[in-house]
């Protein structure tokens, strides 16, 4: 889910950036530093939407660097356990399938795919029901539920399930 949130960060700036454009320099450094990063608490920082305030700078002893506390608003994307997401399938194999919802990668193990869906190999590996009415393959859109998350420095990885009521394929590119 997306959130709007206010975050704070101490920006260390080299003196060569001081002067009339100090504010712009701080903001552009902030954008370069935080956009696209992720943390377990906030998820992906997708975009900075505004600067609340930039505090007084503090000179670091021994270096010329100055630290500015910056408060900024941003849009973050964080998956939650128990959240329902719509994701696009990116890869299917016999262990399950991978899907993507925005910047987040999700794996759905074959244990978490309904039992009546069987894996089929071929050019287009897929999971299909015995009557062939429902098929999950690359580029299918599925509605899934997040049951676990793992965050590392640059990506968030989730485990999802479609073995529940009202979950599963929403639109099948093959049938469209």
């Amino acid at each position: 889910m997306f959130f709007h949130i206010v975050l704070e960060r101490n920006m260390q700036l080299h003196p060569r950036f001081f002067g009339r454009n100090l504010r712009e320099n701080i903001v552009s450094k902030l954008m370069k530093d935080v956009e696209g990063t992720c943390s377990g608490r906030h998820g992906f920082v997708v975009a900075i939407t505004g600067i609340e305030n930039i505090g007084k700078g503090l000179i670091r002893d021994g270096t010329g660097f100055v630290t500015f506390p910056v408060k900024y608003q941003c849009v973050v994307f964080r998956p939650f356990k128990g959240e329902i997401l719509e994701a696009v399938v990116t890869m299917v194999n016999k262990m399950g399938f991978f899907a993507e919802a925005g910047p987040v990668q999700i794996f759905v193990s074959n244990h978490l795919i309904p039992d009546d869906m069987e894996f089929q190999t071929g050019d287009m590996p897929n999971y299909t029901t015995s009557d062939g009415s429902v098929k999950i393959q690359k580029d299918s859109e599925v509605r899934l539920k997040i049951i676990g998350t793992r965050v590392d420095a640059t990506e968030i990885f989730c485990i999802g399930t479609i073995k529940d009521d009202f979950l599963g394929v929403i639109n099948d590119p093959a049938n469209a």
């Binding site: 889910m1 709007h4 956009e35 992720c38 356990k81 919802a101 244990h111 793992r150």
Partner: protein
């Protein structure tokens, strides 16, 4: 990757990480906890098998019926976070992207990949053209004690019936008695805002 990946995931139950090992051993039972870290049950079964039996015997009764996975957005995020519906996020991000085209004097500032993916996702997930009116309709749910996070989730998931909403957002079930009727009306109202596909 299989084992390492599995180990790193946080579990929905409150048990400490050390319980991972024993849960490997129970691949066959249907507890949520056991299943989710199984990429391939046979392989993991044999790996976790040694020494796992004792732990398994003691714990299976407890973990057999895991509590339904509930969304706990409020407790996991700081107070100042405001959940956005996908359609709101799409509007904000689209606005930023349009601005970037005008303001990109500094070529070193690039929108990261996650921005594009986020925007893409928000756009495909956004089923309504007018976030404000959707917000107003869903506002009524707040009177019935539905949290912001739950409201956004309902907006994003777009359930067609009250039953679907209760199944997908289990935390609503506790209020099911008072919520069912208003929710039905609101979902009916929401359907009118749906973007023609």
């Amino acid at each position: 990757m299989e084992k390492g990946g599995g180990n790193g995931f946080s579990l929905p139950s409150k048990e400490p990480k050390s319980s991972l090992k024993s849960s490997f051993a129970k691949g066959k039972d249907d507890s949520n906890k056991g299943r989710k870290i199984h990429f391939e049950s046979e392989g993991n079964l044999s790996k976790g098998g040694k020494g796992g039996n004792i732990a398994n015997g003691g714990k299976s009764a407890m973990t057999k019926e895991p509590p339904p996975l509930e969304l706990k957005i409020e407790s996991e995020l700081p107070q100042n976070a405001k959940p956005l519906m996908d359609c709101e996020a799409a509007q904000i991000l689209q606005g930023i992207q349009d601005q970037m085209v005008l303001l990109s004097r500094d070529p070193t500032i690039k929108l990261p990949v996650s921005f594009d993916k986020g925007l893409q996702y928000a756009k495909t997930g956004a089923r309504y053209t007018n976030p404000q009116s959707v917000g107003r309709v869903l506002e009524d749910l707040r009177k019935h004690g539905v949290s912001d996070g739950e409201i956004s989730l309902i907006a994003n998931v777009f359930p067609e019936t009250a039953d679907e909403a209760f199944a997908l957002v289990p935390s609503l079930k506790s209020k099911a008695r008072t919520l069912r009727e208003p929710l039905k009306d609101i979902l009916g109202e929401l359907a009118k805002f749906k973007q023609p596909a």
